[in-house]
């Protein structure tokens, strides 16, 4: 009995000497302190020059648990929400065509870039306030009908012929293939002054990060086109899919 008690005492001493701290995680903000309710073997952030790895090893009952009002994501680092907000960028707003030369197409470009949050794709629509026209005299450069005479604000077609005149645009990049087959296909801008409505030119059904398309604006005038400085405004509208 005595030996048993001594052994128990020694075991207790050994346990106390060898005790290790339990390393649990906490999260702090200005207003809150959350003790991490997870007794895992190891977790945290490991970094090298090129990579950052976050891990949880030993999570009990890992996975995603959904209920009305809350979601618990236990364990898996790879299901991090990226928390990308809805962002929309148009590079270079002033699209100056310089001096136009008859029968020689003049082009300028800019880029549309979009990011959308988890659960949302996007649509980008475009509309012009009116056709390119001179201030005062109201001479216009008509919207292109493309080589086949068939393109409109909702249908694109090939426009490469130097003797096809007008103003149009092409979009080439992410989310544009449903609207423009390739970079030779052009469309008119929807014309607000004619009561036309903005048309989708770029669209995707899944969340995206920094997806972009190059917009090419093209003018080709005939030798009979009135001289002058032509202007219009083109509005690009980015909305998430609901």
């Amino acid at each position: 009995m005595k030996t048993k008690n001594v052994l128990l005492f020694l075991l207790l001493i050994l346990f106390l000497i060898n005790k290790k701290n339990i390393l649990a995680q906490t999260f702090d903000s200005t207003n809150f302190h959350i003790d991490f309710g997870n007794f895992n073997m190891t977790s945290g952030k490991k970094t090298s020059t090129t990579y950052t790895l976050t891990d949880t090893v030993g999570q009990n009952a890992p996975g995603q648990y959904d209920s009305t009002g809350y979601v618990v994501k236990a364990g898996f680092q790879y299901i991090y929400d990226k928390k990308i907000p809805l962002s929309f960028e148009i590079s270079s707003l002033d699209l100056a065509f310089g001096n136009l030369v008859p029968n020689i197409g003049s082009t300028v470009t800019n880029t549309l870039t979009i990011s959308t949050p988890t659960g949302h794709g996007y649509d980008i629509l475009a509309i012009a306030n009116h056709p390119l026209k001179t201030i005062g005299t109201n001479s216009t450069i008509a919207d292109t009908k493309c080589d086949s005479g068939t393109c409109s604000e909702s249908v694109s077609a090939v426009w490469t012929d130097a003797f096809t005149y007008g103003f149009g645009f092409n979009a080439n990049g992410d989310g544009t293939s449903s609207y423009f087959t390739n970079s030779t296909h052009f469309r008119q801008f929807a014309d607000n002054s004619l009561g036309e409505t903005a048309k989708i030119i770029m669209s995707e059904n899944v969340p995206v990060e920094d997806h972009s398309a190059l917009i090419t604006y093209k003018i080709n005038i005939s030798p009979l086109q009135s001289a002058g400085t032509y202007e219009n405004s083109i509005n690009f509208i980015a909305v998430p899919k609901y």
Partner: protein, 280 residues
């Protein structure tokens, strides 16, 4: 050269309101460009367009029993304001419903857009302007979870000829909302063979708006079953959450060993061909 680079957060809000209730929603508008920009705000109603989450602003009518205003002391809807380069502005939107509003959904977009600059250019010029929107989905109801009715429609499995190798088997379909209130497509596609579950696909929780349909999409992947597959009879069951009151949709398909048979026939043909040539 100036550019337009805005972030609008949140990108969508969804509320269930009782008639006569007023709510406040804060939006953060961030100008990510190196130039200050003159912005404006606008609210437009919309109706769903197509089945992939697009919207149509042209045939929508504003609900006269919903009033929008800004709670910012220095700002009104439609009033231009300047947002400096690389800075953020909080816009606080107040949504007020009247007590006699009908129990139904209303859908709007809160837009922040760039005011058009008037330029006196000396050369032909198109000026681009930007507009970014955040959707507002409002359900007016006397209960927190209004009753909804739904149905699974146009469910199809492609390709028609299903081989054990080569092409994945894809599932397509629509969820139809037969009620006055939107809901999320909370459900699963179960694929079983000989009473054994081969795969369970979780549906994306897409919003299906009132009396409208939405394509079925799956979480983290397309709604598909990748080869190789054992030949045989497969059962497919699409089941939505019980709160959506939809009858589960069941169908089946056969996977056939077409490519192995064709391969064997090809090899046999070559052997017989060689024998025939040797005899000659």
């Amino acid at each position: 050269m100036a550019d337009f680079n805005l972030t609008l957060s949140p990108s969508q809000i969804e509320y269930v309101l009782k008639p006569g209730v007023t709510i406040i929603q804060a939006y953060d508008v961030t100008n990510n460009s190196d130039y200050s920009i003159t912005l404006n705000t606008q609210l437009l109603p919309w109706i769903p367009s197509g089945t992939d989450g697009s919207v149509n602003y042209n045939q929508a009518i504003s609900n006269p029993n919903i009033e929008f205003s800004l709670a910012n002391s220095d700002l009104k809807i439609g009033q231009p304001f300047i947002l400096n380069a690389n800075s953020k502005q909080q816009i606080v939107l107040k949504i007020k419903t009247s007590s006699n509003i009908g129990l139904a959904d209303s859908y709007y977009t809160f837009f922040v857009f760039q005011n058009q600059n008037i330029t006196n250019s000396k050369e032909t010029l198109s000026q681009a302007t930007g507009k970014i929107g955040s959707h507002i989905l409002l359900t007016v109801s006397n209960t927190e979870n209004p009753k909804v009715e739904s149905a699974i429609q146009n469910f199809s499995i492609s390709p028609k000829i299903k081989d054990v190798f080569f092409r994945p088997i894809t599932f397509n379909g629509l969820v139809k909302n037969n009620s006055d209130f939107f809901f999320k497509t909370n459900g699963k596609i179960y694929i079983t063979k000989n009473d054994k579950t081969i795969k369970v696909l979780d549906l994306d929780q897409n919003n299906v708006l009132n009396h409208h349909s939405r394509n079925i999409t799956c979480q983290n992947s397309s709604c598909s079953l990748n080869p190789p597959l054992w030949p045989g009879h497969y059962l497919v069951k699409v089941s939505l959450d019980s709160s959506l009151n939809a009858t589960p949709y069941e169908t089946s398909f056969y996977v056939l060993p077409i490519s192995p048979i064709l391969f064997l026939l090809f090899i046999t043909g070559i052997i017989f061909g060689l024998k025939f040539l040797k005899k000659k």
